[in-house]
Each structure stands twice: as structure tokens, then as C-alpha cells.
Amino acid sequence: MLATIGHVTKKEIRQILRDRRSLVLILVMPILLTFLFGKALETGDLRQIPSVILNQDESPESNVIATAFSTFDEVRIQAEVPTLQEAQDLLAQGKIKAAIIIPKGFMKKVEAGEEAELNLLLDGTDNNSAPIVEGVAKRVIQRYNAERAIKGLWARGVRPDRGRLLIQPVFVQTEIKYNPGLQYLSYVMPGVIGLTLQLLTVMLMAITIPRERERGTLDQLMATPISRTELIMGKLLPYFGISLLNVITILFVADRWFNIPVDENLPLLLLLCALFVLSSLATGLLISTVSRSQFQAVQIAVFYVLPVFMLSGAYAPLEAIPDYIRPISYLFPLMYFSRAVRAVTLRGADFLLVWKDVAVLGGFVVVFLYWAVLSFHKRVA
């Protein structure tokens, strides 16, 4: 059994090493993909949204509002612009995401007790920044209204500290743990790592058996007393080795360029990666055993890999997925992998906190491998 697995593994390694071009691709592609995906998603970091202020009122009250905006981290006031035209041009050119407009007569309306307005011009094509600027504006106005009320009460003899007790609205004091910068990148990077590992392993593995079928070598192989398990394990091992190399380079890229604290708990991280890679290889093998041709195998692999990324919570939180679709998410190893890796890299979780995900990943490996062996037939019925 072990000897035969060894013969298949030796043969596969010889074939892999002889195909230099594919080998380079296999080793370089994951680094490149992790880097590119990571860089592409880095812009999703939602802070310092470039904005301008158009203060048409130029009054003491409007100045209070204008300065209030610059105390928020979420927006970066680049300049005060003199005209609406200029604000619109900057927005159209994409140089800013928001223009905050305090219309003429703002102070007059406020003092007369009329309803005054604050206008926002937002770039709706960026659906991440628009609601954030809106939220900031609401908080600015809330605070401004409170301050005015307190001043009004003082004029009627209520001391500001007492007035504050009456008026001060509830402010939500949030302390964000585990990803203080609320950086999207830190959230999504484990998913990116998983996606890259999965893409490669599933594809590589999926074509191995159809390739032998197309070349006719499977026929010769099936005429020998090799068992299904021996063939499947023999094919799995060399690709597992390659994938572990990829794990190391990918983790290095994530640590070096994307501030993912890999050294937080490296052994646990490696265990998660190894189990995930095995589950992906097993998935690829399963695709391999049911595909008649390499073309078909690639087709099935693509149809597996793409939805997984969207549905596994790697890209956006699982809670964003509708209830009736969410059960599907639990079918993908990537979901457990990215959840556990996030726990380790963002929260410093230890084995006791992620053991369930580890166990589920291990379960996937066993089930998929067993399934792959069962769906592979040495003889045509």
C-alpha cells in the first residue's frame, strides 16, 4: 500500500519537475495573486474620505459647523471652495467623494427659529463612502443642536452644566476591539489567502485524472493491480507538498505587505492552512474523478471556486448574506478557514477558541477524500 503510493508520488513529482513552465506558474501565481488581491482591496479602507466645504453663509454659525467636520477622522477636508461649480467639478473629476454645503441664510434661519439646512453632495458611485459622510454630518448637526439648546437655556438662567444634563443627547461611545482601525483589509485578507490557496489546489488537482484519461495512461494504469486509494493518495501527496510551499510564501506576503500578524500564533495558522489545503486538494480530486475531460474539470472547478468566494464570508460578513442562502455557506471549507484565520490574526485566538473550525476542516478532508475514492471506478460498468 505505502510502497505503491510512493511509486505514484515519485512518478507525479518527476512529471511536475519536468514541466518547468507549469512549475514556475504554480509557485509564482499565488504570490502574485495574494499581492494583487490584497492591493486591490486595500482601497476599501474607509477613512479619510476626501471632501471639501462650501461655506456660502460665511457667518459665525456656519463657521462652527465647518470646523466641526474637521474634528472627525472619517473625512478629510481638503479645502474650502468658493463656488458650487468648483465643488461639482472636483466631484465630477473624482478628486473628492463629498462636498459639504452650508447654504446662504443658514444663520439667519437658525436665529429666526426656522428650519435650516445643511446640504451634502455625494459621489454615489462609491457606495462605501457616501453613508459614512452622511453619518458624520448627522453627528455634527446633532452636536450643534445640543450646544445651541444649552446656550438658549443659559440665557434663561439655566447653568450650562445643568442644561447639559437636560439636553445632552446620548452619544454612542464605541470602543472597537480587535481591529481598531476598522480596516477592511485586515478583515478580508484571510479570505484572500484562502481563495488563492483554493484556486490553485482545486485547479491543479481537478485535471490530474482527466489528463491521464485523455493521454490514455489511465487505461494502462487501470490494468494494473493498483487500488483506488493508492492512486488517489499518491496523487495527493506531491501536490500537498507544493501547496505547503505556497502557504509559506503567501503568509510571508501577507505579513510583509499587508500587516497581517502571522507570528501571532504561527503553529495554529499553519495547522489551519494545512487542513484547508488538504480539503481543497480533496475537493479537486473529487472533481477529477467525476470529470471526463480536462476541459470539463476546469469548468466544474471554476463553477466551484467563484461562488465560494462570494458565499463563504471571505469577502463580506456572513450576516450580509440572506438567511435562505446562508446554509449554503456552511458547505464551504473556505468559510471555516477564513473565520478561524480572522480569529487568530485579529483577535489573537488560540486553539481552544477555534478548535471547532479545525475539526470541521478535518472533517471535510476525510469526507471529500473518501468521496473521491468512492466516485473513482477502476472498471467501467
Partner: protein, 313 residues
């Protein structure tokens, strides 16, 4: 000696198509058995069932006393198979291919080394053992494939057109090898399109439309032919063929260069009648005689006897 291969009503269907239809075949242990028949006759399907690659749809078959339906894996251990299509790893060297198959056939390390060395020697690829298989010529590839089927010293060898497309020296070389292997007491079942190769076998079987339509030694098959063959040298040959076809009792006419081969139930009245008719039509008759049938004649005659076909499958 007993039978190395025995089938009883062996049948294989692919959907609506019946590839092998109730085949009854017996192959003596230690003989070279030639399996003849046109493309699509069911030869490859039969071999694949006998090697344990394909499950029969009906009937039974035993190979080395083992049942193909129930003991396929045991059969694989004592059988060597060379498929019709080249099926070795092109990106491995000659030696690596042999070594891999020797390993997969579970030869222990020391024996594996020895067998790979011996096989390289036997198929004459010692100097090319480090060459990538893809870089070998067609004839050498066939020799290597034969080597891979032989490397574990199987008791039975199934060869599906081992010489297809090979030039005469390569074919000679492969046949020399087969005799060598047969001399060691191994049973060989070989399919071929070449009738002259069939003459080299100890027994032959003609397969057509999934059935065995004749079997025996080549001499026996020729002797058993129920027809006589007249060789007619008459010019112009096309007109002569038309005249021959029109005669009563003629079952078939084939043209070979300047001569005709006329198949008939009986020679005696026909010979004279045909000569008279040819002369009457103004054709010059240089020769007209009964000749001994070749295996090709036997095959043509046998296939013609089956209703609803014209020798094509």
C-alpha cells in the same frame, strides 16, 4: 494443458449497441492466439473485459481460472495488457516508465531493479533508457509498451494490435519477442488486422459483429473452408470480374492486380463453364486454376456468409 482463457456467452452492450454478442472462446495455456476481425468487430471490447477493465453485460469468462466479473483485481496481477493506443507516460523516460509499472505491479525492490534491467535488454532499449518516451519513434514506443506489459512476468499477455502502423522490421522484432515469451510458457492473445501475422499464431479466431465465426489453427481454418478458390488470369480484368460474378455458384470475386480470385461452392462444373464464357466474351484467358486458400480468403468467405453485411462493420 487446460484453457488459460475461456468465455461462455460473453456479452457486452454499450446502450443499444451490442459490441460482443455471446462470445464462446477457448485459448489453450501457452499458445499464441491470434484474434482477427474488422474494426468494430468487438476484439478490443473482449480484451478489455478479459483484463478486468470492463464489466461484462452478460455471460461468464475466466482468465487463468479467475472469474472476470468477481476476481478482476486478482486477474490484473497475473496479466499484462498493451492497449491499442500508446498509453505510457510521455514525460517520463523509458526506464522510469518501466520502473513505475514494475512498482505498481508490486515487485519488491530488488526484483524490480532486476526485471527493469532484463526488460530493457529484452526489448532492446538499453541505450535509450534515459530518453524521454515522447521522443521515441513509433516502433520503439511499441516495444516499450510491450516491455511495460511484460515487466512483471505475467502468465498471460493481452496485446491489442501491437504492430499497428509499424514497419516490417519493427513487426519482425516484436514477433520474435512474442515467440520468446511464448517459449517461456506464457499465453498470448494478440489482435491484428494483418492476415500474414495471423499465420504466425498457433490458433486463430475470427471475430465479426461481436461473434466468433471461426476458430482453430491456421491450417485447420484453411482446410475447413467450405468454398473453393479459382485464380483467374484474364484480360481486361474488370470485364472478367463481371463475367465471373454472373456465373451461377460464384459467391464472391476479388481482384488482385492482374488476377481474380473467384469463390465458389464447387470447382468442377464451374471451371469449364467460366473459361468458355470468358472466351465467348472475347477475353483472353491466360490461366484458370484452383488454388489453396489463404487466411484472408477464409476471412472473406466467413464474413460473406453472415447475412446483412458486406464485410464492413
Amino acid at each position: 494443458m487446460g484453457y488459460a482463457i475461456e468465455t461462455r456467452d460473453l456479452t457486452r452492450r454499450f446502450g443499444e449497441v451490442i459490441a460482443v454478442a455471446g462470445l464462446n472462446l477457448s485459448v489453450q495455456a501457452g499458445e499464441i492466439f491470434g484474434f482477427l476481425g474488422p474494426n468494430g468487430a468487438g476484439k478490443t471490447t473482449t480484451i478489455r473485459m478479459l483484463c478486468g477493465l470492463l464489466l461484462p453485460s452478460g455471460g461468464t469468462a475466466t482468465v487463468a481460472g479467475l472469474d472476470v466479473s468477481r476476481e478482476a483485481e486478482a486477474i490484473k496481477r497475473c496479466v499484462g495488457y498493451m492497449p491499442q493506443r500508446f498509453s505510457l507516460y510521455g514525460d517520463l523516460t523509458v526506464e522510469e516508465n518501466l520502473d513505475f509499472f514494475a512498482g505498481v505491479y508490486r515487485l519488491p525492490r530488488a526484483e524490480r531493479k532486476r526485471r527493469v534491467g532484463e526488460t530493457l535488454q529484452r526489448v532492446g532499449l538499453v541505450e535509450r533508457r534515459k530518453v524521454l518516451t515522447d521522443h521515441l519513434s513509433g516502433g520503439l514506443k511499441q516495444r516499450l509498451a510491450l516491455g511495460c506489459a511484460l515487466v512483471h512476468s505475467p502468465a498471460l499477455l493481452f496485446l491489442d494490435e501491437p504492430t499497428a502502423g509499424a514497419d516490417p522490421p519493427s513487426r519482425q522484432r516484436i514477433w520474435d519477442l512474442l515467440y520468446e515469451v511464448a517459449a517461456e510458457g506464457k499465453t498470448i492473445l494478440v489482435t491484428t488486422h494483418y492476415v500474414e501475422e495471423a499465420e504466425r499464431c498457433q490458433s486463430i479466431g475470427f471475430m465479426h459483429h461481436g461473434r466468433l465465426i471461426g476458430a482453430g489453427s491456421p491450417e485447420q481454418c484453411r482446410a475447413d473452408l467450405a468454398e473453393v478458390i479459382l485464380e483467374v488470369d484474364a484480360q481486361p480484368v474488370m470485364q472478367a470480374a463481371a463475367v465471373a460474378r454472373a456465373q451461377e455458384g460464384v459467391t464472391g470475386v476479388s481482384i488482385y492486380g492482374h488476377t481474380l480470385r473467384v469463390f465458389a461452392k464447387e470447382a468442377t462444373p464451374l471451371c469449364d463453364r467460366l473459361r468458355e464464357e470468358l472466351v465467348a466474351q472475347g477475353l483472353g484467358v491466360k490461366g484458370l486454376r484452383t488454388v489453396a486458400p489463404t487466411l484472408e480468403d477464409v476471412f472473406m468467405s466467413l464474413t460473406r456468409g453472415i447475412p446483412g453485411n458486406n464485410g464492413e462493420a
